[in-house]
Amino acid sequence: MVMSPPESESVIVFERLTKRFGPTLAVANLDLEVHAGEVFGFIGPNGAGKTTAIRVLLDFLRPSSGAVRVLGLDAREDSLNIRSRTGYLPADLALYEHINAADLLSWLDRLRGRHGLDHGRALAKRLDLDLSRRVGDLSTGNRQKIGVVQAFMHRPELLILDEPTSGLDPLVRQVFRDMVAEAVYEGSTVFLSSHVLSEVEDICDRVGMIVHGELKSIDHIADLRTNAGRHVRATVPAGSNIGALVRLPGVTKVHSIVPCRSGTTEVAFDMAGDLQDLILVLGTLDVSDLIVEPRTLEELFLDRLNPTEAAEAPWAHVQRDACVS
């Protein structure tokens, strides 16, 4: 767990938040702070409690016990104030379908105190969203774009985004990432929950993992990348001293050792720590191909979710069949 520096203001504070629905414990003793200006990612399996925690922020749900403060205010007592300074994108977005997108945004703008629609229209244009069309006639992706626009358009201090890019194609996701970066540059804080770990990796500063209602870890993305380890795939001539490679001290898991048509053998393994020894050994072999890439956030977290699997011996599951290259 990462300790937060005492000088940072906290835009969101969960203090031992517990939420029960009847006998079901949705969130258990959640302690979490989100600092001003950061992008915080909330990840976890379905039903882990992410959406529940988010809905408490907006006073849709009331805590069973514990406290929640947003922008320094009580989430329940001062909800009106909080909601006037927040932009929210819910997980299963529902929109009024009988009006066109422009009218919908206009109505929302009025509810929020008439900030004006210039920024909203500009965002819609960047997302390639036609505001003149009736909401009911739009595809899921386009409706999601409306959701994104309405969350960002009044330049709120805090953005609460639940699965914001679901249904969006890769190009649009890129625009979304730019929008997040710009919002942060202008001083906003972003709290988002997502299944798409590659995106969380790209956008977030810190990531918290929640499983079965409990917060399991909080990490800085930068630290995770540094300590993540690497996938290594090396192609060497058949008969080479492969043992020297796979018995290196940093090797955590050997995936496969397979002979290929061209008289070579392909070795794939994971390695943590210093790569210097690896480079020295590779230098002694006649390497025809080499791929070294970082382990993904997804793999890291799957390890955390399945610690027994991750702790197995490196040789536990070595494949020896079909050559990939």
Binding site: F21, F60, L61, L80, S84, Y88, L93, A94, R112
Partner: protein, 244 residues
Amino acid sequence: MGIALYCGVMVAFFPTIRGSESYAAALEDYPDALKELFGGDTGFELTTASGYLNAQLFSLVLPILLSIVAIGAAAQLGAEEERGLVDLVLSNPIRRRRLVLERALGMGIIVFILSAVILATLGVVGAMVDLDLPFQNMLAATATTSLLVLLHGFLALAVAAGSGRRGPAVAAATVALAVGYVLNALAALVDWMEPARFATPWHYATGNTPLVNGWSPESIVALAVPALAFVALSVMFFERRDLS
């Protein structure tokens, strides 16, 4: 518009029935129980203006038609919550009670407009066929019917506000409407059930036959108080609970 048309047609037909002696004679032969079931002694006198209007419109048809509209509008709140639209609205700086009160006000306006149309239709067509009913009586009848409808509509609103669902809201209000009607009608027939009629809103709406007797302040109060109570309950339920 359909309601107005229906009212207009019903009233227009009255002259053919009014004073028709054979019609009156035929009705005399109906079993008493049946007559009482459908509106008591005065209610089944199809040959008088008040009796006719009562039977054709006010004792059942108009309340039902208007209730469909009012209950539907109230249950929409539940439907919107089921769909997730309440999240969209309440993520903005709006108090929960505003949502409920705006809905209640909207229902009141709809019922008021429909009632005004009905009243106008009755007035116009009635004048054309020489209906000869005091306007005050028609106004009183329309007003009590409106209150009856709003009472059940606000009951639906309270259930929608408390449950977050459309189905239970419609069911509760519809059952209340039906049970109330049946109890009120049966109470006229079955001696030991007589007191039960005081528990039904229908009694207060039609029991004093406003078409015949004009305004009855007790009826107005007996309908308005529960109606307002349901609105208050709606606000309370909606403010307190977790949104689904």
